[in-house]
């Protein structure tokens, strides 16, 4: 009897958990380990390893006794790091958090059909394929008079044409990723606002609170956790994302963030040069940042609810 129970338990685990385990192990855990190893090799175009070394990290960091820390970052990596920081900080603060919050607050304050319409519009960029979205951007900011942006500038505001590709390349990728980031923030915050009990709003209105007081005293306090979640999680997502940057800007040096650097040196179509070990080294840095983010995320998770014990004990 005991034996049979044990057996059924094992079969259940295999059926329900097995497929997820295989996929996660082979395509998520194994790559992390592979990356750890490859980062310390000289793997290149031929995908062969001839020796283990820290050569890749010497392309990133150079010992320098004169500096305060005893080392300095190589130019190309330093620039990538700085661009990543600018990209992440601006996109996150302006769009994912601020705009996401504004959109969530304003659309939930409107009647549902109207608020829902605006939310649907803001989800368009996220729901349309990345290549189409990037193509739209390229057309809109076309540096000639044919670009939509330049038409508006010339005809409505009376100046232009401007060439954003040369003048403000970082602004392009911040706004292009920001439209999508704002919609993610909006979705998360909208559902958080929706989960506030209606009676609290009623009580506050009866107590005399106007719209701004309701935002400040009822809504914002409950958004603390979702906002931290967006900040932590989206900063990592932005740090590692390169799809839109690559599709809009191509391998331009002006927008070469860390993730772009790793991608263009290895797998980018037509230009990737297969420096796998170098890419893996940069990836390793991103993985380390990822672990830090995971630990922060850990603190934001309601473990009690996540780990709540099942109430049926048999299998």
């Amino acid at each position: 009897m005991m034996h049979k129970q044990r057996q059924r338990q094992a079969v259940n685990a295999l059926i329900f958990l097995g497929p997820a385990c295989i996929f996660l192990l082979v395509l998520l855990v194994a790559p992390i380990i592979v990356d750890l190893v490859v980062a310390f090799t000289d793997m290149a175009q031929t995908v062969r390893v001839s020796e283990f070394s820290n050569e890749q990290f010497r392309k990133i960091i150079r010992p320098n006794e004169d500096t305060w820390l005893g080392f300095e970052l190589r130019g190309s990596f330093y620039r990538a790091l700085a661009k990543t920081a600018i990209f992440v900080v601006f996109t996150l603060t302006i769009f994912n958090v601020t705009f996401g919050l504004l959109l969530a607050l304003t659309t939930t304050a409107l009647p549902d059909w109207l608020g829902g319409t605006f939310r649907a519009i803001w989800l368009l960029p996220r729901m349309s394929p990345s290549v189409v979205y990037a193509l739209l951007w390229i057309w809109v900011i076309d540096p000639t008079e044919r670009g939509l942006l330049n038409q508006v500038l010339i005809n409505v505001f009376g100046f232009g044409p401007i060439n954003l590709f040369i003048d403000h390349p970082m602004a392009i990728i911040v706004v292009a990723n920001g439209f999508i980031g704002a919609s993610i923030g909006m979705l998360i915050l909208t559902s958080a606002i929706r989960s506030i009990p209606q009676h609290l709003f009623f009580a506050a209105r009866a107590d005399g609170a106007g719209p701004l007081s309701i935002v400040r005293h009822i809504i914002l306090p409950t958004l603390r956790w979702p906002l931290s979640y967006i900040t932590v999680f989206q900063s990592l997502a932005l740090m590692v994302s390169f799809e839109y940057i690559f599709l809009i800007m191509g391998p331009a040096r002006s927008t070469m963030t860390m993730a772009m650097l790793a991608y263009t040196k290895t797998l980018a179509p037509q230009i990737g040069s297969g420096q796998y070990a170098y890419g893996a080294a940069i990836t390793l840095i991103l993985i380390i940042i990822g672990v830090i983010v995971a630990l922060l995320l850990y603190r934001l998770t309601n473990m009690k609810r996540l780990l709540a014990k099942p109430r049926i004990e048999v299998h």
Binding site: A20, L27, L114, M127, V132, L136, W139, F179, S241
Partner: protein
Amino acid sequence: MALTQRDWNVLARRSRNIRHVQMGLLVGFLTIVSIPVVLPFFWVFVISFSARTGGVESAVLWRACGVLVPAVVAYVVVHLTFDSIRKRLFGAAVLILLVMIGLIVTVGKDLHLHNYRFLANANLIEDLRGAATAGGQFPWVWEAFVNSLLVAASSTLFKVSIATVCGYYLSRFAFYGRSAFLQTLLILEVFHPWMLTIPIFLVIYWIGLLNNLAGPILVLTVIDLPFFIFIMKGFFDAVPWDIEMSAMTDGASRRQAFRHVVLPQVWAGIIAISVLGFIRGWEEYVFVTALRTGNSYWVMSTYLYYVADDVMGVDYGVVAAVSVFYMAPSLLLYMFLQRNLTQLTLGGIKG
């Protein structure tokens, strides 16, 4: 503080005014910030139906906007003034009729389907760009379409069924190492495959699936998988224990209880993640290009990418038409199932 009738009247008027101003400000703000988002989509749509040859035209766009913007404003006014559904529908019907007439008058003669001839003509792209450019033979668009459908549908099928059974097991079964598994999953959620593009490429290469559609399908299955598992766990957590317990006292095994009693309760979640998964698979670009050398297979994203690359200077209309054709399935799916998508909440976050 006894208020007189006049005081109340003053208050009523003030409240009415404040409410109108607030509503106006909100709608105004949202309209202004939404224009940059929606206009490009509308533009490419208009181009695909109106561009003749050569450059991008926007005269048609502005004329169409001249008809549509007043119509949208008029509908908002109709919606706000009338309460009954019948009157609103009537208003909408009248406006749609007016818009039709307006569009026929202003842009009617510019509209045509010529740009969509790539759907019927297998060699169109080759003809347009001339045979000299690099990058291999362009296939007929339907080949890329079928491949994309295959990639999106099969990865969604895998992803959703794995997330569903795994989410159920994590939500409902007590087993040794459950907490550890959940916490590991939480950490894995952080590692987006984008971050691991290079090592994933190496793993697929070593398995021997490079230049095979199975590669992107498998990788897409893993993208967002921990996230989907948490979503499904959340949906299962919300199913009352009583119905499962009663199914079991009625003689069902746990597997039967899952199939017949619990699963039907979480359709909303399954539909929602299926839509998200499909849209994600349909748009995939990074891994389909990373996991092939040369043009061993075509999907819609690479098709559009290279059409835009090669034909852009020659014929914008065709590029726009391919774009519209490509995004139509995603957007239609999204529109039909929007209600399901808004039900998603984050698994596990405090709040």
